[in-house]
C-alpha cells in the first residue's frame, strides 16, 4: 500500500468525521450538544488543513474557532437558556423557513463552487510551501499591512463597543 492511498484513506476518514459531526450539530435537539458537535466540526476542518499540508492554518482554525469562538458560543447559550435543555433546538416546521434555508444553502454552495472553479490555486500547482507562517507574516506585515491593521482596529472598536453596550457608558 503506497503513501498516496494512505493519504486518500486519511482524507476520507477526516472528511467523514467532519460531515458526521456537522450533521450531529444540525440534528441534535439539545443546543449545548449542537455547540459541542460544532467544535468537533471545527477540529475536522483543521484536520483537513493538516491533510493538505497547511499546518499553520489548521492550528489557527483550532486556536480561534475551536478554542475561542466555541467557548463564546457556549457561554451565550448558557446565558440565554432556560427550561429543559433537551428541547432547546427543535425543528421549525413551517414551509417558509424550509424554503429560505434551502435558498441560502444553494446560494452558499454556488458561491463556494464558483470561487473554487475560477481561482488559480497557485500553491496547489506549485511546489509545497515549507515556511507557511513566515510567508503569511511577510504578506501581513508587508503587502497587506494597512488592511491587516485596519481589521485589527475594527475588532478592537467592536470589543470596546460591546463592553459599552453591555455595561453602559456612564458607569464609573
Amino acid at each position: 500500500m503506497s503513501a498516496m492511498i494512505i493519504n486518500d484513506l486519511v482524507f476520507v476518514a477526516v472528511a467523514g468525521f467532519t460531515l458526521l459531526s456537522a450533521l450531529g450539530m444540525v440534528l441534535s435537539r439539545n443546543l449545548v450538544h449542537s455547540a459541542l458537535a460544532l467544535i468537533l466540526t471545527f477540529l475536522g476542518v483543521a484536520a483537513l488543513f493538516f491533510n493538505l499540508g497547511a499546518v499553520f492554518l489548521g492550528l489557527v482554525q483550532i486556536l480561534v474557532y475551536a478554542g475561542a469562538i466555541a467557548v463564546l458560543i457556549i457561554f451565550a447559550i448558557m446565558l440565554v437558556m432556560h427550561g429543559d435543555p433537551a428541547q432547546t433546538n427543535r425543528f421549525n416546521p413551517s414551509l417558509g423557513t424550509h424554503l429560505a434555508g434551502a435558498y441560502v444553502a444553494a446560494l452558499l454552495t454556488m458561491a463556494l463552487s464558483l470561487s473554487i472553479w475560477f481561482s488559480e490555486l497557485p500553491q496547489v500547482k506549485g511546489k509545497t510551501v515549507e515556511d507557511a507562517a513566515g510567508m503569511l507574516a511577510q504578506l501581513f506585515m508587508g503587502n497587506y499591512v494597512i488592511a491587516f491593521e485596519a481589521a485589527a482596529v475594527l475588532l478592537l472598536v467592536a470589543v470596546v463597543g460591546a463592553i459599552i453596550l453591555a455595561r453602559g457608558a456612564n458607569q464609573s
Binding site: 503513501a3 459541542l36 499553520f56 489557527v60 478554542g67 466555541a70 467557548v71 507562517a133
Partner: protein, 345 residues
C-alpha cells in the same frame, strides 16, 4: 548514551524492514510505539509527582507526609491508584450523561497531544513541526472546553460555577502566555522548538528574557488551575469545582490530565528558557528531565506557600498587569533586536 533511544528506534525499524515489512508500515509502528512510550512516561511521572507533591507540601507545612507504604511512603500513590480503579463509578441521574462521560476523555486526550512536539532530548520530538510552539498554544486552548463540558454535564451549581471560573481564568491568561513566548520566538527567529533549543547554544533565554519567563510562569500557573490560582476548585466555597460529581477513574483521569499538563508546561519552560537538553556531561534527555523536575518543584513551592487570590483580583491582574507587561516586553525585545542588528551583531 546520548543517542540510545534514537538507536533503539532505528534498530527496531531496520529489524522490521528486515522481516519483510514495508518501510512505511515500520515507520507507522514506530510512531505508535513512541506514543505508547509517551503515555508510559506520563503515567510514571504522575505517580512520582503525586508522591512528590505530598512530600513537598508536608515539608512546607512541617509535617512528614506519606511515610508508611514503602521507603519514604513511595508506594502510597500506587495504593491510591488501585483504590481509584476499584471505586464505584457514579453518574448523577440528572446529569447530561454524554457530556459528563466524554469530558474527562477529551481532557486527557488534549493533554497527551501536547507532547507531540516537545523535544525530549536532541532530535527526540515525535513530530519535528516547524510551528511547534504555536501547536502547543492552540492545543492548550482546547482544554478550556473540556472543563466547561465537565461543569455543564454534571448539572450541579458548584460544578458550573467552577467551570465558569476556570474558563474566565484560562481565556484571560492565555493571552499573556502567548505574548510572553513571542519574545523568545523573536530572538530565535523560529517557532520550531528544536530550533529554539539550538538558538540557546551560547546563552539561555532566561538571561535575555527574564520578564517573559516571569510572565510565562505566572500565566502557566493560572492556565494549570494550580494554587495560588486554583479558584475553580476552591474547596471552601465550591466543594471541588468542576470535578464535584466525578468519582473513581473518571475523577482520576482529570487528576492525571492536570499533572500531564504540569509536566508539559514545565518541559516547555525548560525548552524555551533553560536551553532544553543542553548541559555538560549528562545526555540531553536526562538534562531535560532534571530541568523539568526543578521547574515543577518551583510550581509546588508556589502552590503551598501562597494563599489563594480573589477571583476579580485574579482577572484584573491578568488584564491590567500581565498583558501590558508582556506587550512592553515584545516592544523592548524588538527594539533591542534592531539595535543589535544596527550595531552589526
Amino acid at each position: 548514551m546520548e543517542t540510545i533511544f534514537i538507536d533503539i528506534a532505528e534498530f527496531l525499524t531496520s529489524w522490521m524492514v528486515g522481516l519483510g515489512l514495508a518501510p512505511l508500515w515500520a515507520d507507522l509502528i514506530i510512531t505508535i510505539l513512541q506514543w505508547a512510550v509517551i503515555v508510559l512516561i506520563i503515567t510514571v511521572n504522575t505517580i512520582v509527582l503525586v508522591w512528590m507533591e505530598r512530600k513537598v507540601s508536608g515539608f512546607i507545612q512541617e509535617r512528614i507526609g506519606p511515610n508508611r507504604l514503602g521507603p519514604f511512603g513511595a508506594f502510597q500513590t500506587i495504593a491510591d491508584t488501585l483504590k481509584l480503579l476499584t471505586k464505584e463509578d457514579i453518574v448523577p441521574a440528572r446529569a447530561d450523561k454524554l457530556i459528563f462521560k466524554t469530558a474527562p476523555m477529551f481532557f486527557i486526550i488534549v493533554s497527551v497531544m501536547l507532547y507531540a512536539v516537545l523535544p525530549l532530548g536532541n532530535n527526540m520530538a515525535v513530530v519535528n513541526l516547524n510551528v511547534g510552539l504555536f501547536y502547543f498554544i492552540s492545543l492548550g486552548s482546547l482544554s478550556t472546553i473540556c472543563l466547561l463540558m465537565a461543569g455543564w454535564g454534571s448539572n450541579n451549581k458548584w460544578s458550573l460555577v467552577g467551570a465558569m471560573r476556570s474558563v474566565a481564568q484560562m481565556i484571560s491568561y492565555e493571552i499573556p502566555l502567548a505574548f510572553s513566548l513571542l519574545g523568545v520566538v523573536m530572538i530565535a527567529g523560529s517557532l520550531n522548538l528544536s530550533d529554539i533549543v539550538t538558538a540557546q547554544n551560547r546563552l539561555w533565554f532566561i538571561i535575555l528574557q527574564p520578564v517573559a519567563f516571569i510572565v510565562y510562569f505566572i500565566a502557566a500557573t493560572a492556565e494549570l488551575n494550580r494554587g495560588p490560582f486554583d479558584m475553580p476548585e476552591a474547596e471552601q466555597e465550591l466543594t471541588a469545582g468542576a470535578y464535584t460529581e466525578y468519582t473513581g477513574m473518571r475523577w482520576a483521569l482529570f487528576f492525571l490530565a492536570e499533572y500531564t499538563n504540569l509536566v508539559a508546561v514545565s518541559a516547555l519552560a525548560a525548552t524555551l528558557f533553560f536551553g532544553g537538553g543542553q548541559g555538560p556531561l549528562l545526555p540531553s534527555w536526562l538534562w531535560i528531565i532534571i530541568k523539568t523536575y526543578l521547574i515543577m518543584l518551583v510550581f509546588m513551592w508556589m502552590k503551598w506557600t501562597f494563599p489563594r487570590i480573589r477571583m476579580d483580583h485574579l482577572l484584573s491582574f491578568s488584564w491590567k498587569v500581565l498583558i501590558p507587561v508582556s506587550l512592553a516586553n515584545i516592544l523592548v525585545t524588538g527594539a533591542g533586536l534592531e539595535l543589535f542588528r544596527w550595531m552589526g551583531w
